[in-house]
Symmetry: C2
Subunit: 111 residues, 2 copies
């Protein structure tokens, strides 16, 4: 059986970083909030993916976070973009547009 689900998952990979940085450039957010925002645009991500990714982005200096108490559960980690993160995001956005152009050129020749 040929199923494109796996290929779709593959395509999602690699743009997650871009999307998460984009979301955080609108203002700080904690992981559960980020997952919700991604869902709105049909990009489904699970915790097991997001937490390690956020840690990675923090360790490379693109993100930082602060703790904030919550009245409805454990404290939350609010992540936000660093200055380096903002610069990096701009680069990624350019790369994304270039990729879209490259792929669209290839695909459109098809028709």
């Amino acid at each position: 059986m040929v199923n494109s689900e796996n290929a779709k998952a593959q395509m999602r990979k690699g743009v997650l970083e871009l999307c998460i940085l984009s979301i955080l450039s609108q203002g700080e957010a904690y992981p559960t909030e980020i997952i919700e925002k991604l869902k709105e645009t049909k990009l489904v991500v699970v915790e097991g993916t997001l937490y390690p990714l956020l840690t990675r982005l923090k360790n490379t200096g693109l993100l930082s976070y602060r703790w904030e108490e919550s009245t409805s559960g454990p404290p939350r980690k609010y992540y936000f973009l660093t200055e380096i993160g903002q610069t990096y995001l701009n680069e990624l956005q350019v790369s994304w547009l270039e990729l879209v152009n490259a792929v669209n050129t290839t695909v459109q020749n098809t028709k």
Copy 2:
């Protein structure tokens, strides 16, 4: 040092399958030819990536190939889309457009 090269490479992953199937839907081609065509649109792929991918696509029934003698070296494997491959390509193209929309929505809210 923060470098977006790795992230760019990650974004390329996942769209390769789409691009290769798209190229082959224009007519059969052998691996070296495919690499050339991808280079034209700035999607650089190396042999170590392409050959296993073509084998995978062949094994799942999306591609087929025929041997053809060459006057300038060893025989070439000319790959072409099967009927299943054509159907699958159509699905992938839809998925690609959906992904582009999702990411663009997220990115554009940034500005």
